[in-house]
Each structure stands twice: as structure tokens, then as C-alpha cells.
């Protein structure tokens, strides 16, 4: 079977982050913050689009050779119309192919039950918006740990 540790990449390749947010302003911000930390960024405006990027729609199989679309981390907004960030997190963790990809959830609201449910479901981190460079630094720390395994 394929090597499903899709978050392993050579240290010379920039990490590929998928950023999911329905707000165009926040997408721009997250993208810039991540690029400042040398990440390659793909943005998605909703969870369905994110699932497409990850190859998780309708039993799509990720091609073994599609090296440049391997996502090393997903960062998603919690509150989105349609599928929420929490539901997206669940879908990722339930998938055999993508479940090892670290997922970070962000929200403008500091709600402990929300935070706990995301962490329980396997999110690596929960960050409050607006994101700061120090948050992104922490995030990329999760990336590196995954890569060295």
C-alpha cells in the first residue's frame, strides 16, 4: 500500500499547509503569516473545497506520484457555513489516508467546551483569532515534529 505518512517530506521542501476559512480577509492574513514562515500555502473557502484538495471527496484516491499536493498541516476556522471546522477535523481523522495530518482549529470565540471537543477529536492545537506570528511559530513546530518521525 502507499506510504501514507504524507506529512513526511525532505527538509529542503517547504511544508505545505492547507488553510480553510470562509472569510476572505482571514484567508489573506493566514496565508501571509504562513508564507512568512516559509510555508507553501493552499487556501480553501469552505470545508468541501478543503476535502477536494485533500482528495477525500467521493473516495478519491490520492495518486502516489502527486508529490506537490501532499499537505503537511491543515489549519481551519471553526465557524463556517455548511460543514464546520469541527466536522472537517472529524472527516480528516476518520480517513485512512489523511488521519495523520496535523489539524489546527482556529476560532474568534474562546469557548472551553468547543476547544475541548476539538482537542478530543484529535486537533493538535486550538488558536484564537486573530492569529499572531507566535501562533504560527507554534504551529510550524507541530509540523517539524511530524516530519522527523
Amino acid at each position: 500500500m502507499m506510504n501514507s505518512s504524507c506529512n513526511v517530506s525532505s527538509s529542503s521542501k517547504p511544508p505545505h499547509v492547507l488553510a480553510v476559512d470562509d472569510s476572505i480577509v482571514d484567508r489573506k492574513l493566514v496565508e501571509t503569516l504562513l508564507k512568512n514562515f516559509s510555508c507553501k500555502v493552499t487556501t480553501a473557502e469552505n470545508a468541501m473545497r478543503a476535502l477536494e484538495v485533500l482528495g477525500l471527496v467521493d473516495e478519491q484516491q490520492k495518486s502516489l506520484d502527486s508529490t506537490d499536493s501532499k499537505v503537511n498541516l491543515v489549519i481551519t476556522d471553526y465557524c463556517m457555513p455548511g460543514m464546520t471546522g469541527y466536522e472537517l477535523l472529524k472527516k480528516i481523522k476518520e480517513s485512512s489516508v489523511m488521519k495523520e495530518v496535523p489539524v489546527v482549529v482556529m476560532s474568534s470565540e474562546n469557548i472551553p467546551t468547543r476547544i475541548n471537543e476539538c482537542l478530543q477529536e484529535g486537533a493538535k492545537m486550538f488558536v484564537l483569532k486573530p492569529l499572531k506570528p507566535s501562533d504560527v511559530k507554534k504551529l510550524t513546530g507541530h509540523l517539524m515534529i511530524e516530519e522527523s518521525q
Partner: protein
């Protein structure tokens, strides 16, 4: 005008915006993300904010105009406006959104109508202020100066 005068003018203006609560320190964060590799970052984000906010304000007006007001839909729009305002540091707009969300929760149409007026007022105020600020920055840069960090 020489660079020193332009810079003083810009600093005086930006200080007043922070002092009067139009902008908060999140705006500084945006400034810090602007550099040689991303020289127009602040202008780009601010323009996105303008487009997005005006779209949301239109949606809010439409929603309030309906026979049966969809408070959930309205709350979702206000939540979005609050979020993007927070992301650019538009503090006053953000604050009015908090009150607006309370009115949505209470299903208070009169309250929502008032809040919509207030949020529009604060939005167009900060839009005007930001446009002026960005224009002053442009003038300074054109004269050979560089944009200082506001605080």
C-alpha cells in the same frame, strides 16, 4: 512638503486613530507583516475588508427587509463582519457588532435596525479614516520617506 513634515502629519493622524479607538493594535500586526517581499500587504487587506464589509452590510439590510426576518442568517453575517473587523483592527466596528449579535439573539427587530445604522456609521467612518491614512502613507513614500510603525 518635506519628508519630516509628511511623517509628522502621518504620525499625528495615526495616533489620533488609535487614541479615538478607531483602530487597535491588530492594525500594528498588519503593518508588521508588510515588508519588501510584500510591500502592499496593508492596502490589499484593507481593500479586501472594504469589499467584504460592504457586501455584508448589503446582506444585512436585505435580511432586515424581509417579512420574516431570519435572525440566524443575520447573526451569521454579523459574526463575519465582527471577525473581519477584528482581523484588521477596526475596533469600533467590532464593538458595535457585539451589540448587534445580542439583538439578533433576542430577536429584537428594532434593536437590530438601530445596530445596523450604528454599524454602517462606524464602518464608513473607519473606511474614511483608513483611506486618509493610506493616502498619507502613499504621499510620504512618494516623497522618499518610509512608513513608521504606529503605536
Amino acid at each position: 512638503m518635506d519628508v519630516a513634515t509628511l511623517q509628522k502629519q502621518l504620525l499625528d493622524y495615526s495616533n489620533s486613530l488609535f487614541r479615538e479607538g478607531f483602530l487597535d493594535k491588530q492594525f500594528n500586526q498588519l503593518q508588521q507583516l508588510q515588508d519588501e517581499t510584500n510591500p502592499d500587504f496593508v492596502v490589499e487587506v484593507v481593500n479586501l475588508y472594504f469589499e467584504d464589509s460592504e457586501r455584508l452590510l448589503d446582506e444585512l439590510a436585505k435580511t432586515l427587509d424581509q417579512q420574516n426576518v431570519d435572525f440566524q442568517k443575520m447573526d451569521a453575517h454579523v459574526h463575519q463582519l465582527k471577525g473581519s473587523s477584528s482581523s484588521v483592527g477596526a475596533q469600533r466596528v467590532q464593538n458595535v457588532c457585539v451589540a448587534f449579535r445580542n439583538c439578533c439573539e433576542e430577536r429584537n427587530i428594532e434593536g437590530c435596525l438601530k445596530c445596523l445604522q450604528q454599524v454602517k456609521h462606524q464602518y464608513f467612518l473607519v473606511k474614511n479614516k483608513l483611506e486618509t491614512l493610506l493616502k498619507l502613507e502613499k504621499q510620504l513614500v512618494a516623497a522618499g520617506g518610509s512608513i513608521p510603525m504606529y503605536c
